[in-house]
């Protein structure tokens, strides 16, 4: 299923490097070293729509994450394809959220966290010294488990990312576009100046998605984005995720196996101790997994 095509993919490689570092080292990508890391993956769409090969956007190589002495991620290697929905599933404490947060270096905010191995974004290890996590997070957006809009107006929430990047040209238009893509525009277009906290939970979460996509990232990480929502709001979010995958690479952590089966193209199953047990097309994982442990988990024998 997975074929390794060696391609030369150095798109945007330097954009996550902080300007100072890029300046004084005048570092140029080494084609021989990095390009071979990029490969493409054949990924079959769940419903047959997104068939074909896709570039690898993110790749973990022997990634280990520790919180003090506790190992949260155990030697994980996996490649995440572009413009696909990749689901990370597994029981509580299996490290799936930790893995997600190590992609955009949110674990940097936790003093106890320590990382070994490589995590490549477009062939560049995001843990290299010259990578600026702030720049990385502008390329790799995030939506959290509980909706966390800022206590500002709806408009200011969506405009936040653009404003901190001093990128305020056509701001109104781009806020509107982001809200439309997040399927929230029709509900809020007449109350853009009102507080985001007055929205319902499901609306708040779609607002957080609009906020994340307003800056046009390449990857959107979602950490159980629907777990705090009711079924109707959940299904709206799920529809939205499928649409987003047309333009973005989506990596979603979920507790809910049906959700993973419904919306994802690829599924990674983490089991206790931060071990990646199986990673394959979602169909294969749910219908014909290789590992007995994955089958037991999927069929509800544990977890």
């Amino acid at each position: 299923m997975t074929q390794d095509n060696v391609t030369d993919d150095r798109t945007d490689r330097s954009t996550i490097v902080s300007p100072e570092d890029a300046g004084n080292e005048s570092e140029t990508p080494d084609p021989s070293g990095e390009s071979s890391l990029s490969r493409s993956i054949a990924a079959e769409g769940r419903d047959g729509e997104r068939v074909g090969t896709a570039q690898t956007v993110l790749e973990a190589r022997d990634l280990n994450v520790y919180y003090d002495d506790v190992q949260a991620i155990d030697d994980v290697s996996l490649a995440i394809p572009e413009n696909r929905v990749t689901a990370l599933i597994g029981p509580s404490g299996c490290g799936k959220s930790t893995f997600l947060r190590s992609i955009n270096r949110m674990n940097d905010l936790i003093d106890a966290a320590r990382i070994e191995g490589e995590l490549l974004f477009r062939g560049k290890n995001v843990y290299d010294d010259d990578v600026d996590p702030v720049a990385l997070r502008r390329k790799v957006g995030m939506v959290f488990q509980h909706p966390n809009p800022f206590p500002k107006s709806i408009y200011d929430n969506v405009a936040y990312g653009l404003r901190i990047q001093d990128d305020t040209e056509n701001l109104d238009e781009r806020v509107e576009t982001a809200l439309k893509r997040a399927a929230l525009w029709d509900e809020v277009k007449d109350q853009l100046d009102e507080s985001a906290l007055d929205l319902s939970g499901g609306q708040q979460q779609r607002l957080c998605i609009a906020r994340a996509i307003a800056v046009d990232p390449e990857v959107i990480l979602m950490d159980e984005p629907a777990s705090a929502l009711d079924p109707i709001a959940t299904s709206k979010i799920e529809d939205l995720i499928e649409e987003l995958a047309e333009e973005y690479t989506v990596v979603i952590v979920t507790h809910n196996m049906q959700q993973a089966a419904r919306i994802s193209d690829r599924t990674a199953v983490f089991l206790t101790g931060g071990e990646l047990v199986e990673y394959d097309d979602t169909e294969t994982i749910f219908e014909n997994p290789e590992s007995q442990r994955v089958e037991d988990y999927i069929t509800g024998k544990f977890g």
Binding site: R137, F150, Y160
Partner: protein, 313 residues
């Protein structure tokens, strides 16, 4: 027979309480009395101020008091505006010192400081709050004024500027500690959202945390200012003994000359040898004015805190 006895004993054990209920009632009254003391004292003070002030206004035209531009005990000119000028100067200048520094310190403590740095700095700031204000006053007189003079500022021995700087420093802990409480109460999920958007620590602190905590921060400013308005010892020691009306022709001159705010004007009245009758009574009118101003500010502070508080989750 023996079973009966046991039964009675058991009944005794749960009915015949050894004075427990009575003692509980006593504790309750004692605690209530303690809680009431501050209210009673406040009411007593208001009563004394109001009656004293009414007596004063019986002998002195309230308009002459509130609009009078001259304060001269010997000539029986008791206009409050000069002393009010002094109070306003001290308050505004000390706010200019305390608000930026206090807010910056709060931001550092809440967002930037390592747990170790915080564990050292927070108690240090509380110590600042524990220094007797008379010490600040002498510090202003003996160190700050000569220091300002060394910079070439034309400051008098007693001047508004150095007293105000010290009042400002005195209220920094109040601003920083209350603002930090408000900022620490901002849920971490909002910081995560900011960092997740690619915001820097500074952008998260100033663009997310401070706006989210703004009600608590504003009320800390106002509480600190009402403390500055009421501050007495620093200004009594370092600012001089004669209330001066604000001069608008030379605004800076106001800072370098001596002045006297309402608080220390009251001290002068108590000590003055000829303070009897209407002059003595004027103290109550000034006290009532001060009380009304600080009370109003505390009300505003509460109103702001309630009006702009955001409820999270």
């Amino acid at each position: 027979m023996s079973t009966d006895t046991t039964g009675t004993d058991a009944a005794t054990a749960i009915t015949d309480s050894p004075g427990g209920a009575k003692r509980e009632r006593l504790y309750r009254y004692l605690l209530f009395a303690s809680a009431s003391v501050s209210i009673l004292v406040t009411l007593g003070i208001v009563f004394v101020l109001v009656t004293g002030a009414l007596e004063f206004f019986g002998q002195y035209n309230p308009l002459d008091f509130f609009l009078g531009t001259e304060w001269n005990i010997d000539q029986h000119k008791l206009g409050v505006l000069p002393a009010l000028s002094g109070t306003i100067l001290v308050t505004v200048l000390s706010a200019m010192v305390a608000i930026p520094i206090g807010l910056a310190a709060a931001t550092y403590l809440s967002e930037y400081a390592s747990p170790r740095a915080r564990s050292i700095l927070k108690p240090a700031l509380e110590i600042l709050a524990g220094i007797p204000t008379v010490v600040y006053g002498y510090f202003a007189l003996v160190y700050v004024t000569p220091f300002l003079a060394a910079f070439g500022l034309p400051v008098g021995t007693f001047n508004v500027l150095s007293a105000s700087i010290m009042v400002g420093i005195m209220i920094i802990p109040m601003v920083s500690s209350l603002s930090e409480d408000a900022m620490s109460a901002v849920p971490d999920s909002l910081r995560q959202a900011g960092y997740g958007m690619g915001a820097t620590k500074y952008e998260v602190s100033t663009g997310v945390v401070i706006p989210a905590a703004i009600s608590g921060i504003f009320s800390s400013f106002i509480l600190a200012l009402s403390r500055a308005i009421g501050e007495t010892m620093i200004v009594a020691v370092a600012m001089g003994q004669s209330p001066q009306l604000l001069q608008f022709a030379e605004p800076l001159a106001n800072l370098f000359e001596s002045n006297q705010p309402m608080t220390s004007a009251m001290i002068t009245l108590v000590q003055a040898e000829n303070a009897a009758g209407v002059i003595y009574q004027s103290m109550f009118a000034i006290g009532l004015t001060l009380f009304v101003v600080t009370f109003a500010m505390n009300l505003v502070s509460n109103w702001i805190a309630a009006r702009y508080r955001e409820e999270y989750e």
